[in-house]
Subunit: 468 residues, 2 copies
C-alpha cells in the first residue's frame, strides 16, 4: 500500500464518477451535506435521459400519437385525409427539442461550483484513490460510482455497419427508416416499434421471449397484445440471425426471412463498469458484475464506496437513478454514518399506447387480484380509445400493494396508485376519495370494489355513474 | 292533522323523490340499510349526467380535441390538411354514444326490485306523507328529496324560440350551429364554447362577470385566459340583450351588436323544488330556497327529510351527488339514528383545454401558495401543449390543502392532489413519492419544493431532471 503514502494530485471528501442523472444528484446531495466534491466525467455530453433516453423517445412518441390521432378522428366525424408524415421534419423536431433538454442538463453541469468538474476518465487504484486518464490521481474519503450503462448488442449484430441501430444512434437518423426490425420487446423496443409504425414505417418486432413490455400479469398482457399488434408485426419466441445486404439487413429465423432497411437492437443495457478496475476495490460482485450494495443506503458492502443509477443494474428508470444518487451522495458525505431510506414501491411506465404502468407487487405476490376491462370504460369510449386491462393487487386485508395497467391514461393512474400504496391505503380507503366523472380514474372503481368484496371491507357508496 | 289518520295508498320506510344520480344512490343505500323504499320519478328518461350533462358534453369535447390535435400535428412534422368537420356526423356520434350511456342508467332503474319505482310526480302533504299526481298518497318514515336542477334562463332569453339553446337542447341539434353566442363563462359555458369553436363554429362568449370557469386564483386565471381566447372571442363584463331575427338572434350590448345563428344560455342551474310544496314541511329554507341541511348527514333541519344531489344547490358535480345520495339514503333508513360522514375536499374539473381543476382550499385560505408555470414544463413541451399555470396551497406547516390547476393533464393531477390532501400529506411527503419522468405530474415538483422552502421542510432529493 505504498501508493497511498504519495499525496494525490487532487483530493476531496466525495469523488463521484459519472455526471449523469445519478452522478449529478449524488454530487448535489454530497455538497449539500457539507462534503468537498469532485465530479469526474469524460467529455460530458448531457444525461442519457436527455440525449438518447426519455426525452427523444417521448418526442418521437408524441409525433406518432399525433399521426394516430388523425387516423382516429374519422370516428368522431372529422376527416383529415391520410396524414402526410415528413420524416425529416419529424426527426428534426425530435433533435431540436431534445437539444434544448440536453442544453439544460449541460447548464446544470457547468453551473456547478468551480473546479468541481473533472473532465477525465477514472479508475480505481484502491478504494479511496482513483487514477485519471490524464495521469493525475484523486484521493477521496468516499467514492460514488455513477457510470451509467451501455446498450447490449448481441454478437451477431455487431460490426454490421450503421444500419444496425441502438437507442444511442436511432435519434441521429435524418429521416425515418423505411422498414425496421426491432430486436427486443421490452419497454424501449416496444415504445419505439409502435411509434415508428405509427409514423408510417413498416415495423416487425422480434423477441426470444413471449412478453411485451415485460408485463407481469397474464390478463393485462393478453389485453395489451392485440392492441399493440394493430401497429406492429410481432415475432415472439423468435431469435433472428442477421446478415448484411448492400442496402440493409436480412433477418433469418426458424420459418422466415425478411429484408429490412434498418435494425434497432433494444435487448437491454448493462452497467458501464468495465473500465473502473473494480478488482482493486476488493468488493464482492453480484452476477451482473455489480458490487453488492444495500438499496437503502447505496453502500457497497461495508466499504466507503457507493453506487447509484444505471450502474447498479437495479431499476433503470430516472426517478430511481435520481433517488439512488441523492442517497449515495448523502451517505458518502457522512460515511461511516449512514441514513438508510425507505424506497418507494417499484414504479415503471412504458409510453406505448395504451401506456403500460407497473407498480409495486406482482400478481403472484398479491393475495387478492381484481381486474377492470377498459374496453367498456366510459371516458375511454367517449374518446374512442377504449381498450386494455387494469389489475389491482391487495393483501388479504384489502390493502393495495401492486398494480399492472395497460389502459388509456395508465401513466396517470399509476401515479395515483403508487401514492395510495405508499399511504398504506386499502381499496375501501381509495374508494372514499372523490373520483371525478367522467374520467379514466373512475374506471378503477369496479376493481377496487371487487377487492373490498373479497377482503370483506365495507363500502360507503357503491353506485356507479353511467360509463364509470 | 286528520289526514295522517287516513291510511296512505302506498307506504314505505324511505320515499325518494327523483331518480337521478342522487336518487338512485339514495334508494340503493336505503335498501342496503334494510329499508323498504319507493323511488318516485315522473317519466324517467335517464340521469342528467347521461342525457344532457357529463356524457354528451365530453363526447362533443372529444370531437373538438380531435380537430385541435389535427391542427397541432404540423408542429411535429405531420400534415393532414385542414380538418373536414362533418357537423352532422359529429352530432350523430354524440347522440349515439350518449344514448348508450342513457340506456345504461335506464337499465339500472328498471333493474330495481319490482314495485320500487313509481312513475309519478310527488308533493308534500306533510313531512311523512306525499301526494302523487295520479291522486295516490304515499306514507313514509322518512323522505329523500333528489329532484335535481333545471337550467336558469334569464327572462330576456325566454320565449325566443328554438334558436335559444340550453344544455337541455343543444345536444339535440342535427348539425353544428353556424355562429354561436354562449351566455355564461362557467364550466359548462366555457367547455361548450371552446368545443364548438374547435369544431369550426364561430363562437363568442359573454359573461357579466370577469371570470372564466370560475377559476379562483388570479395567476392561474391570467395564464388560462389567453389560451382560451385563442379559440373563443371573449366579452367579459358584458350583459348582452337579445332580440329575435328571422334566422337567428341579435345580441346588443354596451358598445357592440352581433347577429348569431344560435345562443346557448349557460347561466347556471337552480334546484327543482318548486312543485314539491315544501311549505307544508315547515322546513327552514336558505336563500336559494333549499331546506337548510347538514352536509355530513344530508338531514334537513332536525326532520325526517333528507336532501341530495343538485336539489341541494351545494356542489353540482356527479361524485358529490352520488355521495349525497348514499349518505341521505343510509341516514333516511336509520333515522333518527344518523351516521355523519367526513366529506372529501372540494374537487371540480372543467374539461376545457387545458382542463381546469379546483381542489380544496382557495388561495386566500392558504398560508402558502406556490406556483408552476407549465409553459416551460418538459412533457407538455414534448407534446406541443405547454401552457397554463398550477397553484398549490398549503397551511403554514406545509401541509397541502388546496390547488387550482389550468394545465395539461389538470384532470389527472387533480386526482393525485385530492388524494394527497385527504391523506394530510405535506409538500415534503408528496415529494417522496416517485414522480415518473417525463410526465406532467413531475411538473408539480418545483411548486412542492417552494412550499417546503417557505415552510422550512427538509427535502430528501432536490434534483430536477431536464424538462421536469
Amino acid at each position: 500500500m505504498a501508493m497511498t503514502d504519495t499525496r494525490p494530485d487532487l483530493s476531496c471528501d466525495v469523488a463521484i464518477i459519472g455526471a449523469g442523472t445519478a452522478g449529478l444528484a449524488a454530487e448535489r446531495a454530497a455538497r449539500k451535506a457539507g462534503a468537498r466534491t469532485l465530479l469526474i466525467d469524460d467529455g460530458f455530453k448531457g444525461t442519457l435521459c436527455a440525449t438518447t433516453g426519455c426525452m427523444p423517445s417521448k418526442l418521437l412518441i408524441a409525433a406518432a400519437q399525433a399521426a394516430a390521432d388523425i387516423a382516429r378522428a374519422g370516428v368522431m366525424g372529422i376527416e383529415a385525409g391520410p396524414a402526410r408524415i415528413d420524416g425529416r421534419r419529424v426527426m428534426a423536431r425530435v433533435r431540436a427539442e431534445r437539444d434544448r433538454f440536453v442544453a439544460a442538463t449541460k447548464e446544470s453541469y457547468t453551473a456547478l461550483p468551480g473546479e468541481t468538474c473533472i473532465d477525465a476518465r477514472a479508475r480505481f487504484l484502491e478504494r479511496t484513490r482513483l487514477e485519471l486518464d490524464d495521469g493525475r490521481t484523486v484521493g477521496a474519503r468516499s467514492v460514488v460510482i455513477a457510470t451509467g450503462s451501455i446498450p447490449v448488442v448481441p454478437k451477431a449484430f455487431r460490426d454490421l455497419g450503421p444500419r444496425v441501430l441502438t437507442s444511442d444512434t436511432i435519434f441521429a437518423l435524418d429521416d425515418l427508416p423505411d422498414h425496421l426490425a426491432v430486436i427486443g420487446s421490452g419497454p424501449l423496443g416496444a415504445e419505439l416499434a409502435q411509434a415508428m409504425a405509427r409514423l408510417g414505417v413498416r415495423v416487425a418486432l422480434f423477441d426470444k421471449g413471449d412478453r411485451l413490455v415485460g408485463i407481469r400479469c397474464d390478463k393485462v398482457h393478453d389485453a395489451f397484445g392485440p392492441l399493440f399488434a394493430g401497429d406492429v408485426t410481432l415475432h415472439l419466441g423468435c431469435s433472428p440471425e442477421p446478415s448484411p445486404l448492400p442496402d440493409g439487413i436480412r433477418l433469418t429465423w426458424d420459418g422466415g426471412q425478411e429484408d429490412f432497411s434498418h435494425v434497432l437492437v433494444a435487448t437491454g443495457r448493462r452497467p458501464a463498469l468495465d473500465d473502473l478496475n473494480l478488482s482493486e476495490t476488493g468488493l464482492d460482485l453480484n452476477d451482473k458484475g455489480v458490487p453488492r450494495f444495500d438499496r437503502s443506503t447505496m453502500q457497497c458492502g461495508d466499504s466507503c464506496i457507493f453506487i447509484a443509477g444505471d450502474a447498479d443494474a437495479d431499476a433503470p428508470v430516472l426517478h430511481e437513478a435520481s433517488l439512488d444518487g441523492a442517497t449515495a451522495g448523502t451517505n458518502a458525505a457522512t460515511w461511516p454514518d449512514l441514513s438508510p431510506i425507505d424506497r418507494p414501491p417499484m414504479f415503471a411506465i412504458a409510453f406505448t399506447d395504451p401506456p403500460v404502468a407497473t407498480v409495486g407487487a406482482s400478481p403472484q405476490d398479491c393475495a387478492i387480484n381484481a381486474f377492470r376491462d377498459y374496453s367498456r370504460q366510459g371516458r375511454a369510449q367517449v374518446e374512442a380509445r377504449a381498450g386494455g386491462m387494469a389489475r389491482l393487487g391487495a393483501d388479504a386485508r384489502g390493502r393495495l400493494i401492486g398494480a399492472d395497467l395497460a389502459v388509456p391514461g395508465a401513466d396517470h393512474l399509476g401515479h395515483l396508485l403508487v401514492l395510495a400504496i405508499m399511504n398504506g391505503a386499502s381499496a375501501a380507503d381509495l374508494l372514499n376519495m372523490p373520483f371525478y366523472h367522467p374520467t379514466l380514474e373512475e374506471g378503477l372503481k369496479p376493481a377496487l370494489r371487487e377487492i373490498c368484496r373479497q377482503a370483506s371491507l365495507a363500502i360507503r357508496n357503491d353506485g356507479n355513474p353511467p360509463g364509470a
